[in-house]
Symmetry: C2
C-alpha cells in the first residue's frame, strides 16, 4: 500500500507537466472506452446489485449503486463538458518584475495526489477521477465494497484509456480493502487532499480521523430567514422549493426563521402549502401558538433532517436571525427573503456561510447550477475552497522566480534596490 | 477562555463588515499610540529582559525578546506600508448571470478568527495583529511568558487604539497562560486558522496537536542544483549568498546537488570560497573523493542546519536531482543554476515546492522581497496559501446569489434554462 501510494505520487509529479491537449485526449479516450464497454460495466454492476440485495443493503444505497445505461450516458456527457472547460493548471496569477532580469511569477499547479473515498456510487468514481486528471492530479480511489465488481471494470477502463493517451502510468490506483482506508488517512507524505463522498456520518468520520486536509461537508443545515417585509407569495414559493425539491440533498432547507411581525400572516399560509406536500412542521413555542405543530426541542436547530420535515422559529428581528444561523448553521447555504436591498446585503455580509442568497432558493447552491460544469462536492471548510468546488479547488500555485545571477546580499547592502513593478505577463513557456 | 474566544468570534463577524477607511484609521491610531508610548513599551521590555536574563533565557531568545526604539520604529513603518496596501476584503473574483434577475458573485471575505501563538518576539505580535485587522479577522494571541510585560502594554495599546477608531471591541484578545494554548488548539468552533511563529520544533508541535488548520512551515530544507552547464562563477556567488547571507533563516540553503560532470571543476573552487566564510561542508562519498570534507550520513539530507554548514551531493543528472529534492526537501524553496531555459522550466515544473527559482538565490523567498509589503510567514502547506503569505492568505470567499424569487423546480422541469453568462461586474454595494 505504501509502495502503491509512492508510485501514484511519483506519477503525479510527472502528470503535473502534461499539457492540456494530452489530458483532453485522455478524457476522450475514457469516454470512448466507457461507450464501448457498456455491456461489460452493466454486467459487473448487476453482479454487485444481486450480491448486495442478498446481503440486505438498504434500498437507498442499492439505488445509488445502480449504474445503468442512462447513468453511463450522463457520465460520458459529463466527460465531454469537462474537455471543454479551461485547464486550471498553468495560469499566471501574478507577475512582478522584482528588478532588471529578476521576474517573479505565481502560477497555478496541481495539488499532487487526491485520495478519494466514496460509498456506493460508481458514477462519482468516474466523475472525480476525470476531474483529477483534467486538473493534473494523481488519484488514489477507494470505492465501497458493495460496488467492487463495477469499480474494477471502471478502473481498468480508466487505466487503459489514459495509458493509451500517454498519461504517466500509475497516476490512478484503486484500493479495495477497508483496512487500506485507515492506512490512507495517515499517508500525508504521499496524499495532499482527501475527498470523501457519502453520508454525513461517513464524512464526519473521515474528517475526524485524518491528518491530511479533507475537503467536503458533513452537514448542510440550511436556513431561510423571512423578514418582516417579505412578499408572502415569494416566500411560500421559495420555502416550498428549498424544502421539497429534493429533500435528501445537502442544500435542502432545514430551518425556517420568521420575523414575529409577519408570522401571524405567513405561517398559516405556509402550513397549508407544506401540508399539501406532506412536510411535517415542528416549531418553537411561539410557532406552536400560531399554527398546530409539534414543539421543537433545541436539538432540532442542530439537525439536518434530509426528510420531509422543517423546523420553524419565530425571531424578534434581523440580529436574532443572524445569531441563530451563525450558532446552529453549518456554514453551507443560508438565504433571506426581503425586498430591502440594504438588509439583504447585510445578511449576506454577516452570515458566515459559503453561500448566502437573497430572494432565491437554497437549492441553487450547486456547481452545475453555478455554471462550473463539474463539481467535486460542496465545501464547508473556510480555507482553500468554499461552496461548490470545481476544477479550481483541485489546484494551488507555486512561485517561480527567473533570475540572471542575483543574490540577496546586494539588496541587503543596498547596492541594489527592488523595483516591484507589476507586469501582467504570462509565465513564459519554452 | 471559551467565553473569551466566543466574544472574539462574535466581534469578528461584525469586523467582517467594517470598511477599508475605518480599518486604515484604526491602523493609524495604533501607529500613533505606539509612537506616544515608546517609553512605556521600552520600560516593560526592560523588565522582561531583566527577568529573563535572571531565568537564564538563551542569548538568541533574549535578542528576539529585545524591543527597543529602533525595532518600534520598524514596526510603525510596517503599519504605514500596511495602510497603503489594497484591502483584500470585498474583491469580486467572479460574477455570472445565471438567468435574468439571478446574479452570482464570488466575493472575498475574512477567514474569521486567527489564533496566533508566538515565542519571544513582541514585534511579530504587532505585525500579525495589524495584518489580521487589515484583512478583517479577529485575533486571539498567545505570546511567550518571557515577553509578558511587553505584550500586555502592546495589547492595551492595540485594544484602546482600535476602540477609539470604532472597530468592534473584543476583536482582539491576549492569552497569557500556557494551558490556554492547548485549549486554543481544540477550539475549532471559534478559531478558523492557527498561525504559529517560533522555532521549527514549536511549529511542528502545534501542527501535530491541532484540529484547526495551521499555516506555516516547520522546515526549510532548501536545495540548489548546479547543472552540468552552469556558469561556475554565478553558481559560487549564488550558493555563497544562499548559504551565508543569513544562516538562521528558513530560506537559507541546506543541500547542494552538483552534476557529476561539473563537480571536479566546481567543487574545489566552491570549497575555497566557503572556507573563507567558515562554512563546514559535508558530502556524499563521491564528494569526499574530490574535496576534503566529512562524509554525510543519510540523516544529513533531511537536516535543516540553520548554521554555517552545507551538505553536498553529486548526482548523475537532472532526474536524480529532482528525485532527491522531492524526497528529502520540505517544499519550501529550491533553485537550479543553468543557462538552459528548457531545463530550468522543467525543474520549476517538476520540483514540488512552493518556490522554485532559476539562477538566483534561495534567499529571495520572502514576502517583502516578493513585493507583498507584509507577510504572515512562509507556508509549506499545499492548500489555501503557499510560499510567502501576505494579506491575501488571510481571506477566503463566499458566494452571494441575488435573485428575484427564483426556484430550482423551474429549472429541473426545464420551464426555464440557465444562461451562465460571465458578467465582469463588481458585487453591488448598497
Amino acid at each position: 500500500m505504501n509502495e502503491l501510494a509512492h508510485r501514484v505520487k511519483d506519477a503525479s509529479l510527472r502528470l503535473a507537466g502534461v499539457g492540456t491537449d494530452r489530458k483532453n485526449e485522455a478524457l476522450a479516450q475514457i469516454a470512448e472506452a466507457l461507450k464501448n464497454s457498456k455491456e461489460k460495466i452493466i454486467k459487473a454492476n448487476r453482479e454487485d446489485l444481486l450480491r448486495s440485495k442478498q446481503e440486505n443493503l438498504p434500498e437507498p444505497l442499492l439505488k445509488r449503486l445502480n449504474f445503468d445505461e442512462a447513468k453511463i450516458e450522463v457520465v460520458i456527457d459529463g466527460i465531454f463538458s469537462l474537455i471543454h472547460l479551461d485547464d486550471p493548471v498553468g495560469k499566471t496569477l501574478l507577475s512582478t518584475k522584482l528588478d532588471d532580469g529578476l521576474e517573479l511569477y505565481k502560477v497555478t499547479c496541481p495539488l499532487g495526489v487526491i485520495g478519494i473515498i466514496f460509498e456506493s456510487r460508481p458514477d462519482a468514481m468516474v466523475q472525480i477521477a476525470t476531474l483529477c486528471l483534467k486538473s493534473g492530479n494523481g488519484a488514489l480511489l477507494k470505492g465501497g465494497v458493495e460496488a467492487r465488481e463495477t469499480n474494477r471494470v471502471l478502473a481498468e477502463i480508466i487505466i487503459k484509456a489514459t495509458e493509451k493517451a500517454g498519461i504517466p502510468s500509475n497516476w490512478f490506483a484503486l484500493l479495495e480493502t477497508r483496512s487500506e482506508v485507515s492506512e490512507m488517512l495517515k499517508m500525508n507524505q504521499y496524499i495532499d487532499l482527501i475527498i470523501p463522498r457519502g453520508s454525513n456520518e461517513f464524512v464526519r468520520y473521515i474528517k475526524e480521523n485524518s491528518k491530511i486536509p479533507v475537503m467536503g461537508h458533513s452537514d448542510g443545515i440550511c436556513h431561510c430567514y423571512v423578514a418582516e417585509d417579505a412578499d408572502v407569495n415569494m416566500a411560500i414559493k421559495i420555502v416550498s422549493d428549498a424544502k421539497t425539491e429534493h429533500v435528501a440533498a445537502c442544500n435542502a432547507l432545514e430551518t425556517l426563521l420568521v420575523h414575529k411581525k409577519i408570522a401571524p400572516e405567513f405561517l398559516p399560509v405556509l402550513k397549508e402549502s407544506l401540508d399539501n406536500k406532506n412536510v411535517e412542521l415542528i416549531g418553537c413555542s411561539e410557532t406552536c401558538g400560531l399554527i398546530s405543530v409539534t414543539a421543537a426541542p433545541e436539538e432540532d436547530w442542530k439537525t439536518e433532517y434530509l426528510d420531509y420535515k422543517l423546523s420553524v422559529k419565530i425571531v424578534t428581528g434581523f440580529d436574532e436571525a443572524i445569531e441563530h444561523i451563525n450558532t446552529y448553521g453549518s456554514g453551507h447555504t443560508d438565504i433571506i427573503i426581503t425586498p430591502d436591498k440594504e438588509k439583504a446585503m447585510q445578511f449576506m455580509e454577516y452570515v458566515d456561510s459559503g453561500n448566502t442568497f437573497w430572494n432565491c432558493s437554497t437549492r441553487f447552491s450547486d456547481g452545475f447550477r453555478y455554471g462550473f460544469g463539474a463539481e467535486v462536492g460542496i465545501s464547508t471548510n473556510k480555507l482553500h475552497a468554499r461552496g461548490p468546488v470545481g476544477l479550481e479547488g483541485l489546484v494551488i500555485y507555486k512561485y517561480k522566480l527567473l533570475g540572471s545571477g542575483q543574490i540577496v546580499g546586494d539588496y541587503t547592502t543596498r547596492s541594489r534596490t527592488f523595483k516591484h513593478e507589476k507586469m501582467k505577463k504570462e509565465f513564459p513557456l519554452v
